[in-house]
């Protein structure tokens, strides 16, 4: 019931927000209320969640299209709980930010945001392929309009690119799902694994576009630049995680053979994307560009962890997904805050914002420092786990990771110095105030989450793959490859028996 409630509450909210005939502030407040209620609901789920059990929890299943064996099947397990939490937190921050910055056409705006929330939660909780696809596509409906109506000057071009790229991927996935589902079953908990490289590529293409991975990132910069800041925060913070979730939940677990065969290719793409994204971030001329391309780099790093496919890298990837979600959301909201105080986001025309604005400076510095993975921060924990795992896969793969960590330090420090130090930029008005209380609350809350995770990163990394704890993998006699299989075996639907048989077959 809880899962269905998590999906339906925002939908109910969207409807009531849309129909509420009230001024902007009231409408936004109602939306914020709904997202806070969603947050409370999630926390109540968190307290009742049994992290030791590898089963799907809060499960619910109803027949939907019985003819094809498609059902409404939702539930939470391991890391999907954390991703739902990330979604709810970032969405709450985004709505609060939108409320503060006062969006036009408030009814439609907040209704769409809540609808988007329901769709994303739906993706993370769906246990049926068609239901997964439904939620996956349903995200596009509000996103298209959110960017297209409330976006910047180049929004139409941005939406066109965004839709063209993502729909090309997801329609391919749609055909693949039909083929796969009819031959292997639609229900993820019971579907059989497949050895078809083509089907794997059908799924992988869609997720690689959405993440995005290296050659398929053409839509990224435009979409991140032209969106309203809070939508950009959602795009890079949450929606890119949907793709990695898809890799973990479907592409890897259902296709162990093809994943193994194509692992080097995927690792190589991730590695190229990591370095390439970092370089682009270093050269980007504006705030959003830096954050957007750093997001590309971070997603590639997570991809590296996912495809290295062992216990360390997988736990690290999940942790880093949450970390990056919080960091990039905070950075995009900060970008919004700065854009409000200046006429431009171009770094060459900004600068000297630290003078007289201590809170802004400390926010930027602390989030920047976390994002470049300073030891002790949550991002450090995530990246360290990923790199350690990747090192196990082959030490050569860890080199781009290390290079990228250096580059990350460079582009982040460049961003911080371009914003805060140097001469006062021409685009910065002298009167522009420091961070105001509402802004501080929103970004501070995100920062608080990051700090909490810095203190206790194991909350996520140890509680994502339930069976890892039960069966310690460090024991001798298990090769790194079958470790990977066991790691994925913790995702519901991949019985450990299947995993061991495929392991021995290899």
């Amino acid at each position: 019931m809880l899962t269905t409630a998590l999906i339906c509450l925002p939908l109910l909210g969207a409807l009531s927000v849309f129909l509420l005939p009230a001024p902007r502030m009231w409408v936004g407040s109602l939306a914020l209320f709904f997202s806070l209620a969603e947050l409370a609901l999630w926390i109540s789920g968190l307290t009742r969640f049994d992290f030791g059990s590898p089963k799907i929890q809060f499960e619910q299943q109803h027949s939907w299209i019985s003819d094809l064996g498609i059902s409404y099947h939702v539930g939470l397990f391991g890391f999907s709980l954390w991703l739902v939490g990330l979604t709810v937190v970032v969405m709450t921050a985004a709505i609060a930010y939108g409320l503060w910055s006062g969006r036009e056409r408030a009814n439609a705006y907040y209704a769409l945001m809540l609808f988007l929330l329901a769709a994303i939660v739906g993706v993370f909780t769906a246990q049926d392929l068609i239901l997964f696809y439904v939620a996956y596509e349903a995200m596009m409906i509000p996103l298209y309009v959110l960017i297209g109506v409330w976006g910047g000057a180049g929004r139409l071009r941005a939406t066109f690119k965004f839709v063209a790229y993502t729909m090309a991927g997801s329609l391919l996935m749609f055909a693949t799902i039909v083929v796969y589902g009819l031959s292997h079953g639609f229900d993820l908990a019971t579907a059989q694994q497949s050895g078809s490289v083509w089907l794997f590529l059908g799924f992988a293409a869609a997720f690689a576009v959405k993440a995005p991975l290296f050659p398929l990132h053409g839509w990224l910069a435009d979409a991140y630049r032209e969106s309203p800041p809070e939508v950009a925060a959602l795009l890079s913070g949450v929606i890119s995680k949907v793709a990695v979730f898809g890799f973990l939940r479907i592409a890897l677990t259902q296709f162990p053979g093809p994943t193994h065969d194509l692992r080097s290719l995927m690792l190589a793409l991730s590695a190229v994307g990591l370095v390439y994204g970092s370089l682009l971030a270093f050269r980007a001329p504006d705030i959003r560009g830096v954050v957007a391309y750093s997001s590309l780099a971070q997603m590639s790093l997570i991809g590296l962890g996912v495809f290295a496919q062992n216990e360390l890298s997988l736990s690290g990837s999940v942790l880093q997904m949450v970390n990056h979600g919080l960091v990039s959301a905070a950075l995009f909201l900060l970008a919004g805050v700065i854009e409000l105080r200046s006429s431009s986001g171009a770094l060459s025309r900004l600068g000297g914002m630290a003078r007289g604005r201590p809170i802004l400076a400390s926010l930027i510095i602390s989030i920047g420092v976390i994002s470049l993975a300073v030891p002790g921060s949550n991002a450090f924990a995530g990246e360290f786990l990923i790199l350690a795992g990747v090192f196990q896969q082959g030490w050569g793969w860890a080199i781009p990771g290390l290079v990228a960590m250096v580059l990350a330090a460079m582009y982040m420090l460049r961003l911080v110095s371009a914003l805060l130090h140097r001469e006062v930029g021409e685009a910065v008005s002298k009167k522009a105030p420091d961070v105001l209380l509402p802004e501080l609350c929103v970004i501070g809350a995100l920062l608080g989450c990051m700090l909490a995770l810095s203190v206790w990163p194991a909350a996520i990394s140890k509680h994502s793959f339930a069976c890892l704890e039960q069966a310690p993998l460090t024991s001798a006699g298990i090769s790194s490859q079958s470790k990977a299989q066991v790691g994925l075996a913790c995702v519901p639907g991949t019985g450990s028996t299947t995993a061991t048989t495929t392991g021995t077959a290899k």
Binding site: S63, W64, I65, S66, D67, L68, I70, R105, N107, A108, I130, Y133, V134, A135, E137, A138, M140, I141, Y144, V145, G148, V149, R155, L156, T159, V163, A164, M167, A168, L171, L172, F174, A175, V178, V179, G181, L182
Partner: protein
Amino acid sequence: MIRTPAIDWLTLAPSLALLAATIASLMSAVLVPERRRKNVSWFFCLAGYAGAFAAAAILFDRSPHSRGVIANALFRDRYGALAAMIVAGVGLLTTLVYYGERSTVDRVGERFALLASAGGGMILFAQSANLLTLFLGLEWLSISLYVLCALERERPEAIEAGFKYLIVGGFSSAILVFGAAFVYGATGTLNLAQIAGKAPSGDLFLVTGLAMILVGFAFKASAAPFHTWTPDVYQGAATPVSGFMAGATKAVALLVALRVLSLSFSAQEHLWTSAAAVLAVASLVVGNLAALVQRDLKRMLAYSSISHAGFLLFAIAAASSLGTRALLYYLIPYGAASVGVFALAALHERELGEPATLDNLAGFGWRRPLSGIALWIFMLSFAGFPLTGGFVGKVYLFAAAYRSGWTWLLIVGAVATLVSLGYYLAVVRAIYMRPVPDEEAAAKEEPPLLDRMLSTAVFAAVVVTVGSFFAVQPLIDLAKHAASQLPL
């Protein structure tokens, strides 16, 4: 002594209801005073469609086994009954939308009479069990539609459109008759159920007849390359009538085609499934590419309906029970969305006094929030997006095509869907994202037109479009019962 066959009145009831409505509306054109004429004839038409729907539902309930009635002229079965329900439902909504059409001040009785009569013909066509009844049903509906299209006097191109429709329609039915003649020559019977098995499967006359009958149906379903009439006719006809043609005519043409092919040409299955696949690809290519460049909303929708014919032909190419169910299911949200979207186009036209284009739709979604959302939903349903019945329909069609071995059709379908987003989302972009010329002033000047009938129809269409996504099972059950009566 001539032994007249027993009449099964229940089978006839849906089309008889509409025939009665035709005659009643026609009478009211003469007997009712002018100021009340419109309401009276409109009411008869509406009642006719409602009655037809109810009769078809009862017929569905009481025909668990397919059998020929009235000397094997009609089938009494659930397949035909479900087709009749789809036609009656689309007709009911169309009648609601048609009420407010500006041109319906002139010859109003005849208009509603023809609207009812077209539905009657469609139902008879869908139930027909021999080639003669099939042909006559087809002509009944076609001739009604020719006139109905041409009646739109305010549109200068309406008469030309009607004439073009007549010529192309006559051309296609001549081909159909010629094909029927050859089938008759090969088998010596007109009865659909008896054609199969009467001649060897490679019989040249039979195959020629099959090819020509297929072409005739392809014209009616506006599948490429037999689609050339569609854009002109949809653009020229009264907007609600275009919706009726898109939703109902195409539906019955494809349903009857599937029945005839599966029943009478089961031995030639490899031929017509391949032909259907080729037609499907051609329609998808032509419809989607041509729709991309249209600015006129109705013309764009016409091309979109061509591309939908392509998707629906997947079901015929599949030639399976699953394909039949897919076809029957798909037609329900598709029909509702067709009527709905043409209703909104009509609404916009009535307000503006000129045809709806992507340019003058700017700001539509903000001026009328609910209509905007409805238009959005219909577009998403056409594009096969989730949360609309179009999505489930597409899942079904793709599944049917895959099960029958047409894997490459899935790829074509996916690419076509991607291209189709180009024009469906263009409508969404037009109504929400284009800059609105002095919106404040326009909002103050005149409140948007409120047409209660039209709003009801649009609301019902939205309910069906969205509802068919959630409540799939009841519709599947209907389709399952109906599909089980075809020999597939």
